[in-house]
């Protein structure tokens, strides 16, 4: 018997007395079983939303940006709000897979695969918005620096918008590589148990001929570690650069030095909320409560209350600076356009405050952190709050800036702007449903790696040894 020691004070990460075989069985089961009716219902709703989104985008591309209600000063509205929202959601996946790997947090193994998938799908959704916001989307390739016949007139490398092009595309590529390199061994597991020819063939292609050789594992470990090391500053840089889109401008409410850390904390906050929403459904539907335990949910709720409070401090700092700077434009933006409840957009500011700052404080209580229903409800609330945050930042600042003569009319979206947003939900959930059906939603090899340290059965064996008397232990285990 081989045991590695972990304190009994720590909860098991895998419940039940599992063997390696059972881990494989449990995680591969949804792939090998026929999808349930609920899966079909969810999938078709997602596809319907996606179709609506495609039609909304079709209208925008055919008739132009005028299909949206953007106006003279509110040049960024729902589109960029949604862009920032989706990119932010993606950040939790990288945080779980990369930063928690560097911090040696064992609990990441239960949720990292799904969280990384979420990252990739969220970034795919995010990317749609700036691309279609260009209006003439067929010229989207103009953002790439390539020798061209227009001079060559190059892109502006000093512009945060171009930094965004590089940041988001790098982020997507690196996340995809990280995710897929982790999937290769698990695809091999699915391939080697496949019972139909088609399955064997497809997973055979997807697994790249993985055998499980020790040398390959050694390189795989090195690759994962370095990719984690690269992704960690990358994920911080991505939302920093997104915040630069605002912070480097001279618009009151955007021109703020605290934006980078404030945006990164907000991104992790909303991303973890989305992971909670997805994992609570996945663990229930696929009966994976043994792998995504209440302990996992609690750990994520701790991150939510931490980052939610950081975001809260940032809001208060902004309000303070709006007063302390004695800059009347800043003061007007923060204290009238935002914080005054009866200003045109006051409702969005207080919606944000209620959802992001007040309500997550419930997670200071252990009972609440470990309550599935509260967690699920809060995860939705937080994501609504984080959407409001981006809307507040973008719209209230643009709606009324310096000259009252250039103040715009009240901005509210058209059905096609809403449709575009709904469409990205469709895209996200279509991808996620397919992922949940055809991919191992939990990293099989990584669970096996932590099983003997943190599996319930093994922890119990260890507890028995701890209770033995010294003489008994020596008698049993010493080499005579």
């Amino acid at each position: 018997m081989h045991l590695k020691y972990e304190s009994q004070l720590r909860e098991p990460l895998v419940y039940g007395d599992k063997t390696y075989k059972q881990v494989t069985e449990d995680i591969v089961r949804p792939i090998e079983a026929k999808p349930t009716k609920l899966w079909y219902v969810g999938f078709y709703i997602a596809v319907a939303l996606l179709m609506f989104g495609v039609y909304s985008v079709y209208r925008e591309v055919t008739y132009g940006i005028g299909q949206w209600n953007l106006n003279k000063t509110v040049g960024w509205g729902w589109d960029i709000t949604n862009f920032v929202w989706w990119v932010g959601i993606g950040h939790a996946g990288t945080l779980i897979s990369a930063i928690l790997l560097l911090f040696r947090q064992g609990w990441r193994t239960g949720v990292n695969r799904a969280a990384e998938a979420m990252t990739i799908f969220a970034v795919m959704c995010a990317g749609q918005f700036p691309i279609f916001h260009m209006g003439r989307v067929w010229m989207a390739f103009f953002v790439l620096p390539y020798p061209n016949s227009r001079g060559p007139l190059w892109v502006n490398f000093n512009s945060p918008l171009l930094w965004d092009v590089f940041a988001i595309s790098t982020y997507f590529t690196v996340s995809l590589l990280f995710w897929y390199s982790g999937l290769i061994p698990d695809f091999a597991t699915v391939r080697d148990r496949a019972f139909t020819k088609l399955r064997k063939r497809l997973y055979g292609v997807a697994s790249f001929g993985w055998t499980g050789s020790t040398k390959h594992w050694q390189r795989h470990e090195s690759l994962s570690l370095v990719l984690a090391g690269l992704s960690t500053p990358l994920v911080l840089s991505v939302h920093t650069i997104v915040s630069f889109d605002f912070a480097t401008s001279v618009i009151p409410g955007w021109h703020t030095t605290i934006f980078p850390p404030y945006f990164v904390a907000g991104a992790i906050f909303s991303g973890f909320a989305m992971v909670q929403t997805l994992m609570i459904i996945v663990r229930k539907v696929f009966a994976m409560e043994d792998y995504v335990t209440i302990g996992h949910i609690e750990a994520m709720n701790k991150v939510i209350v931490l980052t939610g409070s950081i975001v809260g401090i940032a809001y208060l700092t902004e309000l303070f600076m709006g007063w302390y700077s004695q800059n009347k434009y800043e003061g007007y933006t923060f204290w009238y356009s935002r914080a005054y409840l009866f200003s045109p957009y006051g409702w969005s500011y207080w919606g944000m405050m209620a959802c992001n700052v007040l309500s997550p404080q419930i997670f200071w209580f252990r009972k609440m952190r470990r309550n599935i229903f509260v967690t699920f409800f809060m995860s939705i609330i937080v994501n609504i709050g984080m959407w409001f945050e981006r809307f507040v930042i973008i719209v209230t600042s643009l709606y009324r800036d310096y000259l009252p003569s250039s103040w715009s009319v009240y901005y509210s979206p058209t059905i096609w702007e809403i449709g575009f947003y709904a469409g990205t939900f469709g895209l996200f959930f279509t991808c996620f449903f397919l992922f949940a059906k055809y991919f191992p939603v939990i990293a099989i090899a990584e669970i096996k790696y932590v099983l003997k340290t943190t599996g319930e059965g093994y922890k119990n064996q260890m507890a028995n040894i701890e209770e033995q008397k010294l003489e008994e232990f020596v008698h049993e285990h010493a080499h005579h």
Binding site: M1, H2, T19, Y20, K21, T24, P145, P152, L153, W154, N156, F157, N158, W163, F166, A167, T170, T173, V174, L177, F178, S181, P185, A188, T189, R191, D192, R193, A194, F195, K197, L198, K200, R201, G204, V205, F208, G209, W210, T211, S213, T214, K215, H216, W217, Q218, R219, H220, S222, L223, V226, L227, L230, P233, L234, S237, A445, E446, K448, Y449
Partner: protein, 196 residues
């Protein structure tokens, strides 16, 4: 590709595997490879494999990315088309840091993954010989390469005495070829041998 003769021993516990690896090596046999369902830490050292240099390659790719970004942007903005952006300096290094950083990460990540696939000979449609289908499930499969002098019966007995649950002799290709996994014998269930 030449076919070679191998002796295969299957273990179900890494704690049994480690001493077995040590004994097999001390006895002078050449371990071709050990196939495991997950990364068993320390197994590479036990087998006497050298450390991988993949991270060094990653570093080189990374600085290539930095250099590419810096040299391209500075050439474009100071030589090819010095664009006047609000009267700011043409050589605006601080403003280029984000893109230099992103390209560093991009080059390092893409380069490392491609190098990883090349070194491990992994690619879509690649097929290799699998000594045991459960090596990706719950068995640790030790494969020993035979020479002309190897007595396979002795070796199998030796493996069994060291905790192997199942042993066999196989003649197999040790490289890779383009192939499909559905050409394997089907269905899989019948092939499966339950380790006692």
């Amino acid at each position: 590709m030449a076919k070679k003769k191998f002796v295969v021993g299957c273990f179900d516990d890494e704690a049994v595997l480690f001493p077995a690896v040590k004994k097999v090596r001390t006895a002078g046999y050449k371990i071709h490879d050990v196939y495991t369902p997950f990364a068993v830490h320390g197994l590479d050292h036990a087998m006497g494999l050298r450390e991988t240099s993949l991270h060094t390659a990653g570093f080189i790719y990374g600085i290539t990315g930095t250099a590419t970004a810096l040299s391209s942007i500075s050439w474009i903005f100071t030589k090819d088309w010095p664009l006047n952006i609000g009267g700011k300096p043409h050589f605006a290094l601080p403003a280029w840091i984000p893109i230099m950083f992103e390209l560093t990460v991009l080059f390092a990540a893409v380069g490392m993954v491609l190098t990883f696939c090349y070194l491990c000979q992994l690619a879509p449609f690649v097929k290799k010989h699998h000594f045991h289908a459960r090596a990706t499930d719950d068995l640790f499969v030790m494969v020993i390469e035979c020479t002309d002098k190897t007595n396979t019966d002795d070796l199998q007995a030796f493996l069994t005495s060291n905790g192997a649950l199942e042993t066999k002799v196989e003649v197999a290709e040790d490289g890779w070829w383009l192939g499909r996994y559905d050409k394997d014998e089907m269905p899989f269930e019948e092939k499966q041998i339950v380790a006692a």
